[in-house]
């Protein structure tokens, strides 16, 4: 049993392209998935009963079904209704919908932990409801749940590997290509696994810098 990693050095452009797409996919989905999730969390916390119920249904459906099935449903199933899309579009859509459901619960717990006094003080200063939410409730709420939220982003990034199954040309897809042409399966997947580990560490660092810097201060 000899291990030969040389093929991976030769194929590094392919790996790089794959990595870049994984990063793009993750960050793009992170932004829109989080926005969706915060909106849903707010609805579930303070919305009218019918809205809470609808969002609740969405959240439970997503959290209790595998991501790969959601992906297949969007990419293979929706065209049946006339909604055709590229693999990348389907991947983004699936990630956003998936992340939105998880962030909804994370955001909701953060929002609901807001002390009443904070809201009363903000109201007493004549802030309107939108201002109270965005300026007084949301930043500390995000700070409260930031570790959980960051963890969920890492999960999304690792989950994006599944998108290779609908031929989205991210990192795992690149790995599959290299492995199948070089027959060096083990070496390829070991290296790519290490790359994902690095990406996960980098993502955590990035998000733990972005949070205090731009979103909730200190």
């Amino acid at each position: 049993m000899t291990l030969d990693f040389s093929v991976l050095f030769k194929q590094w452009p392919l790996l790089l392209d794959g990595m870049l797409l994984t990063i793009f996919l993750t960050l793009f989905s992170a932004v829109f998935g989080t926005l969706l999730g915060i909106a849903c969390g707010l609805i579930r916390s303070k919305g009218p009963k019918w809205a809470r119920w609808t969002v609740g249904l969405y959240v439970e459906l997503i959290r209790n079904t595998p991501f790969i099935i959601q992906l297949f449903f969007i990419f293979f199933g929706l065209p049946g209704l006339g909604l055709k899309m590229t693999a990348l579009t389907a991947a983004i859509l699936a990630n956003v919908i998936n992340l939105g459901a998880y962030v909804s619960e994370i955001a909701r717990s953060g929002i609901e932990a807001t002390p009443d006094g904070q809201i009363e003080a903000a109201q007493s200063l004549a802030l309107d409801r939108w201002q109270v939410f965005t300026r007084v409730v949301l930043p500390p709420a995000l700070k409260r749940v930031w570790p959980t939220l960051v963890g969920q982003m890492v999960i999304i990034m690792l989950g994006s590997a599944v998108c290779s199954q609908i031929s989205t040309e991210e990192l795992t897809y690149a790995a599959n290509q290299i492995a199948s042409t070089s027959f060096r399966n083990f070496e390829t997947y070991i290296v790519v696994a290490a790359l994902y580990l690095l990406l996960a560490v980098a993502l955590r660092r990035l998000l733990n810098w972005v949070g205090p810097r731009f979103i909730f201060g200190r």
Binding site: E120, S124, L125, A126
Partner: protein, 255 residues
């Protein structure tokens, strides 16, 4: 209570005009028909046992509590707790300071003071900052503009809270037991600021347990008991010569 009837009395005289105010929490009636008028620049202290309805009364004045019957008028306008826009108008005139300070933890002291003027009155950032620095200096915290709430003592936080309310240029300040959550040695610095405000002519309505302060600073003291104004009068008379047994009992417990 017929609102138009109350408007026949000269609305400018009583800045705050409460008539027949009734408030229930579920089955529990906390305010049982309160009548109270507070004039401009008047400093009124409200005292009483816990459960007598003092905080609830205060919170009805800026719409944090809705009421079932009676009327509350501030500067001639009826307080309508279900009208969000009317409440926002009201709260630019009526400021509130809370027992637990409720400073925004993610903003510095200066940012706390600047927030509402910028968002509500659309003041420019530069102007809001200038105003905030002035107010913080006025409460004795000029050099703490960039400090965050968790870096400040209780007394300092409460003074920032006062500056924050003042930034909106209110006509009335409502103080809900603002020293009750403070360590004893920090109470003085806050009361000093409040006394300064009173001397400058701010209309103050304070729920407080600080009897010495009330005696010295207020124009009128209201004793509440079981949801009604039980006794009312100037502090000297009220404290040295309580008319009702309930007040006598209360004062003996407080001393």
């Amino acid at each position: 209570m017929n609102p138009s009837l109350t408007q026949q009395l000269s609305p400018g005289f009583a800045l705050i005009d409460i008539r027949g105010l009734r408030k229930r929490f579920g089955d529990n009636e906390v305010l049982k028909g309160v009548d109270l008028q507070i004039a401009r620049k008047e400093v009124v202290c409200i005292i009483g046992k816990s459960g007598s309805g003092k905080s609830t009364l205060l919170r009805c004045l800026n719409g944090l509590e809705a009421y079932q019957d009676g009327s509350v008028m501030v500067d001639g306008q009826l307080v309508r707790p279900d009208d969000r826009n009317a409440l926002r108008e009201l709260r630019q005139n009526v400021g509130m300071i809370f027992q637990n300070f409720n400073l925004f933890p993610h903003l510095s002291a200066g940012q706390n003071v600047m927030l509402a003027p910028r968002l509500v009155q659309k003041t420019s950032s530069a102007e809001a900052e200038r105003h905030a620095r002035k107010l913080l200096t006025r409460v004795g915290l000029g050099e703490r503009f960039d400090a965050f709430p968790d870096q400040l003592s209780g007394g300092q936080q409460q003074r920032v809270a006062i500056a924050r309310s003042l930034a909106m240029n209110p006509q009335v300040l409502l103080c809900d037991e603002i020293t009750s959550a403070l360590d004893p040695e920090l109470v003085g610095e806050v009361l000093q600021v409040v006394e300064g405000l009173a001397k400058e002519g701010m209309t103050l309505t304070m729920v407080t347990h600080e009897m010495a302060f009330a005696r010295r600073v207020s124009d009128r003291v209201i004793f509440m008991h079981q949801g009604l104004v039980h006794e009312s009068g100037d502090p000297e008379t009220l404290f040295s010569n309580p008319q009702t047994p309930e007040l006598r009992r209360f004062l003996s417990m407080e001393s």
